[in-house]
Point group: C2
Chain length 353, copies 2
């Protein structure tokens, strides 16, 4: 069966040209179809330059777009014909199998929940990020969907991350670490200490707390945290990587010798760039929704979009969602009922739902 | 008046030799005296190699040491004669003016509060970290003392950070940013949203929310966050910086050309290293305690210890503590009474004290 991916062609900071270029790369390199969702005049204008791609790309008109800084909930409520809403609607009415968007990530998340709903027994869908490390890719979640969490949510993030890591990277029983500020179980804030107990009692391959420095070592497959901490980590990492490269470049332009050194080592810098390229996996998969969606970085280039489309297809073909449900029911700890009633550990954070 | 700094000579992963070497550098390069707190047999053995330093270094015997992974509260309760406790006791009995320790940071923080107490109206002392950035040093707090915070605590971290930034880096009306996951005031978790309101109503130079990527740009003087998030940021930054350098080195050793490039650019790498050297400021000042203390990294070398001793003296001479109290009372928002009763914003997090 040919899978069809709905691409929010109006999303992202680089504009529809870049989105279309990504879609064309995707259909060129795979057996997938892509539906371009957005303003048909604009998209037709771009697409006419690529006659060879016509048969496997179709345009679905959406009269509205959501800007990057718009309130997600306002956007969803008021813009029923936005490219994001329309893309998820494509899944709902059976015309597409997954959504890829580099647009407003809050609106993408909210639309996913609105149009697809949650997987059975999943309390809160999360956004996973794939970090490059010294060894193998790491799945970290939540990186922004849920800023105030209960222990049960963190536990389910672990389940979802493990299913994803297993299906996409072929890792058997992925190891799960809980992000904290000390390795011992007693270290951390109230939320993390309670979540630690849930993981410890489960049948998951829980290796205990991990620290910020462990993220890039590549010794753990899945790292769990709340969406506030995860989003901060993601942005600190982006900002620091850019600052380090910028400082090194400055230092290397200060003397002729250093400049020559830089020129000779340029390929090494390029190889390094490839190792840490966010575009390699295209974007951040939404886990826990009853369907498939990938949120791409606002600055995504065509390559990132192509890879996100590929990853979306892999998620569907490998059956991530049924694996999440299976793993949750096998975890020996959490069925939906227990989760919805709230466990003792849940109550400790004192957070109102 | 000659200031005397009490150095926990048994702290740190490199052992007493390194601590003593730092103390000797400090007295050589300044007019300060240093008291070495620790096992007198060990310290006398080391000190005999440096006869010229004898007059401005004295040893204060402490029969116990606290290990790096010991529970801080157990350590404080059971080891009354540890080098950490004894160091703070030196301040209490008037024999020293500040403490520097590279030992167990939890125990150092707890001892500071036990022996020195808090500054008037300060609810929770915090640990500040000084981050290198593309422009100027940034003060970030809390980086680990308080993992579960109320909005009022974050507000006071802002006051303390601003006083420190003003006194140590000579910045007039330091700008304060609140670490969140979006720039608009409405973005963030419950804690951050409430703290945002407190800052907004105050007379501090509050510039609004900042994101993880802003840390290294150097456009803000003080960044405020809870101790869990701050500690994660600190460790993510350390881990990522090491991973990037390690990946670059690997890439640069792969071909003769890249190797040659690395050799030519070696000085640039060294200059870069200096720019991001944690040892430049020696350690993380404790702010909000009624006295002066600096927590150094466990891996501190002699240079870091020397600089921490220098910064401790600068904190005393510039009157950071009285500036904190002045700024708090001037902030137009928080006097101790109001703070202790808990404001409306406080209650929103629902966290029990």
């Amino acid at each position: 069966m040919t899978l069809r991916i709905a691409l929010d062609a109006m999303g992202g900071e680089r504009g529809p040209e870049e989105m279309v270029a990504g879609a064309i790369q995707a259909v060129d390199e795979s057996d997938l179809d892509v539906a371009l969702i957005g303003d048909e005049n604009i998209l037709n204008g771009i697409l006419h330059k690529y006659p060879q791609a016509f048969s496997r790309l179709n345009i679905v008109h959406a009269s509205q777009t959501v800007s990057m800084d718009e309130s997600p909930f306002e956007a969803i409520r008021k813009k029923k014909d936005s490219s994001i809403s329309k893309a998820f609607d494509q899944i709902k009415n059976g015309a597409a199998d997954a959504v890829v968007s580099a647009g407003n990530s809050g609106a993408t998340m909210a639309s996913a929940i609105k149009y697809l709903g949650r997987l059975e027994n999943i309390l809160r869908p999360g956004i996973a990020s794939i970090f490059p490390t010294l060894k193998k890719p790491l799945v970290m979640l939540d990186v922004g969907a849920n800023v105030d969490c209960r222990p049960q949510h963190l536990f389910q993030f672990g389940v979802m991350g493990a299913a994803f890591s297993n299906n996409l990277f072929n890792i058997q029983k992925p190891s799960i670490g809980l992000l904290s500020i000390g390795e011992e179980g007693g270290k951390g804030n109230v939320l993390v200490k309670s979540a630690h107990e849930l993981f410890r009692k489960s049948s998951l391959n829980f290796i205990g707390n991990v620290e910020g420095r462990d993220i890039f070592q590549g010794d753990v497959d899945v790292i769990v945290c709340d969406g506030f901490v995860g989003n901060v980590c993601l942005k600190v990492s982006e900002g620091l990587a850019e600052a380090i490269i910028s400082m090194l470049r400055t230092e290397m332009s200060k003397s002729l010798m250093a400049k020559t050194g830089y020129l000779l080592a340029k390929q090494a810098f390029a190889n390094f760039g490839k190792r840490v390229d966010y575009a390699e996996y295209g974007g951040a998969p939404l886990l826990g929704v009853n369907g498939t969606g990938i949120i791409c970085h606002g600055r995504s280039n065509a390559k990132a979009i192509k890879n996100a489309i590929r990853v979306a297809a892999e998620m569907i073909r490998s059956g991530v969602n049924s694996h999440i449900m299976q793993l949750l029911s096998d975890s020996g700890l959490v069925d939906g009922k227990e989760a919805n009633n709230g466990s003792d550990a849940d109550k400790k954070t004192g957070e109102a739902e």
